[in-house]
């Protein structure tokens, strides 16, 4: 009997109706409205973290370990401290003295072990690039000059790099106190995998190796930490996705009261999950600001970024699939060794990559017998954490590859193979092999669509014709089942302090225009536009009347920010609720002014109207003006409340989406070079708030995936 993922009740929760009965879907919801903020950026008026300068600001550069594993014997920073422009040099112990260490453990995964981690290496460096000293100077160039003068005496230690060797009993240890290099292991499954394979007509096995990837945001990571010792306040301008997480982290780990910590997001040059995390070098910079009492700026350069931005996708997966003669899958097993670097990443955990492989392998298919195991070794390399997709690219690749192998073994066309094995509409809601609740997946509809778009039968015929003349073309399919907008059941039990709710304030200005203050954050996706569209529709005003503010923990409601494709799904609901509340409040005020029943009124196009006839009774502008400046004309018991804040707590564990992609390539069999000829994407996006922005996200994601696969 195999153990179950998390707690079974988490995934089998009754799906409550997430939408209110009276939800109003009207323009501009569904319109591809232009992202006017982009005009600023297209004119070079973006203000990213490195564009900001604060008074008395100084610049940080790091001394980093050149070794994968080494003991720090001694550090002599005296020459560096005297270098031109040098302000201070900090070593690991000095920073550790004022920072609470953190771990990459989680309350709900008691067998995930990861020792406490400080911002900079104290005794040993565990990966090439781990910071060991921080130099602060009056310019980045001078800080780099001084950093070269820091003398570190190293004792190189054996490095753990190979994932399999890491698990051998005689392997050197990344953390000797743990006794071995296994950070975590887990397994999931259902049915009887033994009989699933025994009764099969074909069994295929394959081991797939995935190298490390990193997300490469064009704007590197960075922050300006500004600590004021006279008030014990900390303001951090941060290129980040989750400002409230960082507010919590800085407060907790630097001992600053949370209400005194403010995290502000400037324009951000891409996130992709990289900028979701707690980076030890960034915390070190905050600590330096606290010790110096002045602003410290740190912008990772490209080499530092490639070296120390979190990595992902480092897996070695052995998969086996069993099918009957008619192609029906009788069993699937997946054994994933997913390395995680020197520590498990704090808060977001490094286990996500592997856990999502276990949970999502085989997801589109009707598979009764499933077994998946995960082993997570430590490694003397950079930390693994969440980069766009988080393990699901692996789950999809493994699953679809095995299905294709099985199809070939049984002589069945890959499309037909999928038709025979997909979960059918009448099987939903159901639980996937990995234990994930699947409310509904439009698998067959998406497959039908892509088959039609790519003219599949004709393409196969063409492929065969070309093959006969020595031209090798390939056709590939990848069914995608993706978890998005995870709710509290994912992070809550981990007790890591991550917010999965989001909030939104909607307020009318005196002129009847609308300001929206949202806790979701935008790194270019355009979520702010979607929020504005939802508010405009919910409140009943033109899109152009709405402006959006985000990314400031002193200003916005508390919320999770941007991760796991949650901005509109969760933040949008909060925005809608807030907009409807302001609408109701406005109509209540209008009713008092007009001596009418509020239920007989509506707002459309910024006019208060009779709901039945559409006759304009007064403008929203007039209403706001009265509500804010002419309370003398109102009955004494009327309290105008022309703003509202609402939060949204997703009632489902996650929104699981699906789609399918197809690729048509030509392989030069003499050189091994692959040319991409065509690529199709069919994605079930549910209700599209802004189709153009959705397209933009899909294209960007696809190209990141193509880059990873082909280049």
């Amino acid at each position: 009997m195999l153990s179950k993922p998390f707690s079974r009740s988490v995934w089998a929760v009754e799906m409550a109706d997430t939408m209110s009965e009276t939800i109003v879907i009207r323009a501009p919801i569904g319109d591809s409205v232009e992202r006017s903020k982009a005009r600023r950026l297209a004119n070079g008026r973006g203000r990213y973290t490195d564009d900001l300068c604060l008074p008395r600001m100084v610049y940080a550069a790091f001394v980093r370990s050149p070794y994968a594993h080494a003991r720090i014997v001694s550090i002599d920073a005296s020459a560096a401290a005297r270098a031109p422009g040098a302000v201070r040099v900090f070593t690991g112990p000095e920073i550790a003295a004022i920072v609470e260490p953190w771990t990459g453990e989680a309350a709900h995964l008691p067998n995930l072990r990861s020792p406490p981690q400080y911002p900079m290496a104290v005794e040993r460096a565990l990966w090439q690039g781990e910071p060991v000293a921080l130099v602060v100077a009056t310019s980045r160039a001078l800080a780099e000059d001084a950093a070269l003068l820091v003398e570190v005496l190293w004792e190189e230690l054996p490095a753990v790099t190979d994932p399999l060797a890491a698990l051998e009993p005689d392997s050197p240890l990344v953390h000797p106190e743990l006794g071995n290099n296994l950070a975590f292991s887990h397994q999931v499954g259902r049915g009887d995998i033994g009989s699933g394979f025994a009764e099969a007509d074909h069994v295929c096995e394959q081991t797939l190796y995935f190298g490390r990837h990193t997300g490469v945001t064009l704007e590197p990571r960075g922050l300006i930490a500004d600590y004021d010792p006279t008030l014990d306040t900390l303001t951090v301008h941060h290129s980040h996705q989750a400002p409230f997480q960082m507010q919590m982290v800085f407060a907790r780990h630097l001992g600053i009261p949370e209400q005194n910590v403010r995290v502000i997001l400037p324009d951000i040059g891409g996130g992709f999950g990289l900028k979701l995390h707690v980076y030890n070098d960034e915390v070190a910079v905050v600590a330096a600001s606290k010790l110096l009492g002045r602003p410290v700026k740190y912008i990772a350069d490209r080499v530092e970024s490639l070296l120390t931005d979190i990595h992902a996708r480092d897996h070695r997966v052995t998969a086996k699939i069993a099918i009957a003669a008619d192609g029906k899958i009788t069993g699937l097993s997946v054994d994933d060794i997913c390395v995680i670097g020197g520590y498990s990443n704090t808060i977001r955990l490094s286990t996500g990559e592997g856990m999502l492989v276990l949970m999502f392998s085989g997801a589109p298919y009707d598979i009764a017998n499933y077994q998946a195991t995960l082993k997570v070794p430590f490694q003397n390399k950079n930390i693994i954490a969440m980069y766009r997709g988080v393990g699901q690219p692996i789950a999809v690749t493994v699953t679809e590859h095995m299905v294709d192998l099985a199809a070939r073994a049984a002589g069945i066309d890959p499309v037909e193979m999928r038709r025979r094995n997909y979960l059918t509409d009448d099987q939903f809601p159901t639980t996937g092999p990995g234990g994930v609740h699947l409310e509904y997946l439009s698998l067959n509809t998406c497959l039908d669509t892509v088959v039609e778009r790519m003219h599949y039968p004709a393409l196969r015929t063409e492929q065969n014709t070309y093959r006969a003349s020595g031209v090798y073309r390939g056709i590939g399919l990848a069914t995608m089942v993706e978890v998005t907008a995870v709710g509290p059941v994912y992070y809550g039990p981990a007790e890591v302090g991550v917010s999965t709710i989001d909030g939104c304030t909607v307020k009318l200005e005196q002129s009847g225009k609308v300001r929206v203050i949202t806790s979701i954050t935008d790194q270019g996706q355009g979520t702010e536009v979607g929020i504005a569209q939802i508010v405009a529709a919910g409140l009943g005003v033109p899109f152009a009347d709405v402006s959006v503010v985000s990314g400031d923990t002193a200003v916005t409601p508390y919320g999770g920010g941007a991760y796991a494709s949650r901005g509109i799904a969760i933040g949008g609901e909060a925005a809608y609720d807030a907009a409807r509340t302001v609408r109701d409040n406005a109509l209540s005020l209008a009713a008092a002014i007009l001596q009418a029943d509020p239920r007989s009124l509506d707002i459309e196009d910024a006019q208060i109207r009779d709901a039945d006839t559409g006759t304009i009774r007064m403008s929203l502008a007039e209403l706001s003006k009265i509500g804010y400046t002419r309370q003398d004309t109102l009955p004494l018991d009327v309290q105008p409340e022309l703003s509202a804040t609402r939060s949204f707590n997703p009632k489902v564990p996650a929104f699981v989406a699906n789609g399918i992609q197809a690729s048509h390539v030509e392989v030069d069999t003499d050189t091994g070079f692959v040319t991409l000829l065509d690529h199709w994407v069919v994605a079930d996006g549910g209700r599209l708030i802004n189709p153009a922005l959705v397209d933009g996200q899909i294209r960007g994601g696809v190209v990141q995936g193509l880059g990873a696969a082909l280049f």
């Binding site: 160039a141 780099e144 000059d145 070269l148 490209r302 080499v303 070079f673």
Partner: protein, 292 residues
């Protein structure tokens, strides 16, 4: 990634350059286009004491043609080489190679001489110089030296230019009317350095190839002529047996160096593939010349 501190000087004459080189030797580096030098400085792979900016020496730039030879000054921007009517009319190999060299912005600053003097093993221009049987001209003080391309590229980033000398240009014989050529570069993305590349030239005499030159780049520690392979084809029709013989001979010509873009066996294989394709293209060129 900021450059280390250095002193900067921008000489107004060649004489001044040589004085400075004489005075500072290895502590000085020449700054021409900067497209290779500046990344090196930013990555702190190099710490020259003095940077000698030669961009003021206008006499070192320009493309001219005289008596069957094209002269390209070292300071000529790659963008100028790309656009040059003289190059496009008379040096087909170079004309074909130029679009592969980096990207627009790099070509606007990068110089012809810089690429050749730097001699990156995967760069296109050194191989073009070999394929075109160019002569490189270096100068120190008043003394000029002329070095055949086949004797210029000596090792990894190492050329026959000695530290006190400046590469001032190249002289390249124009394509004869019966020139056939091929330029093939395998790279993952446009503008990348080559995984393996081949610049091939020959002259069609009747239905045969003469003076075959096969210049590989991205294969060894420098651009290299595959002499034995060329010999196997010279004076012959480029038919299947001849091409096979050239491929066989190639194993003696090339000893590929593994790098991030491929191991030795892969590069050896790819070199053979490119040889087959290039010789095929030369043969078709002969056919067209014959039927012209």
């Amino acid at each position: 990634m900021k450059a280390p501190p250095f002193q900067y000087v921008k000489p107004q004459s060649l004489a001044e350059v040589f004085e400075l080189l004489g005075e500072h030797g290895d502590d000085a580096q020449i700054l021409a286009g900067g497209q290779s030098l500046m990344p090196t400085l930013h990555l702190r792979l190099s710490s020259p004491t003095v940077l000698i900016d030669i961009n003021g020496l206008d006499e070192l730039a320009g493309i001219s043609i005289d008596d069957g030879q094209v002269t390209i000054g070292a300071l000529t921007r790659l963008a100028e080489v790309l656009k040059s009517d003289i190059v496009n009319a008379h040096l087909a190999t170079l004309s074909r190679a130029m679009p592969h060299v980096a990207h627009v912005a790099i070509r606007n600053r990068g110089t012809f001489g810089g690429s050749i003097a730097y001699a990156d093993p995967a760069a296109e221009l050194p191989a073009c110089m070999l394929a075109l049987d160019a002569t490189l001209i270096v100068q120190s003080g008043q003394a000029k030296r002329e070095i055949a391309a086949s004797e210029f590229f000596l090792g990894l980033y190492e050329t026959a230019r000695t530290p006190g000398e400046l590469l001032i240009g190249a002289r390249i014989p124009i394509d004869p009317p019966n020139r056939v050529n091929s330029f093939l570069e395998l790279s993952r993305r446009h503008g990348d350095f080559a995984v393996v590349g081949l610049a091939a030239t020959a002259n069609a005499v009747g239905d045969r190839l003469e003076d075959v030159r096969l210049a590989f780049f991205g294969c060894e520690d420098r651009a290299k002529l595959a002499g034995r392979a060329a010999l196997a084809v010279s004076g012959k029709r480029a038919d299947a047996p001849t091409i096979d013989a050239a491929i066989d001979a190639l194993t003696e010509d090339l000893d590929p160096v593994a790098n991030l873009l491929g191991n030795s066996a892969t590069k050896r294989h790819l070199a053979a593939v490119l040889t087959r394709r290039a010789l095929g293209e030369l043969a078709r060129g002969v056919g067209e010349a014959t039927h012209a």
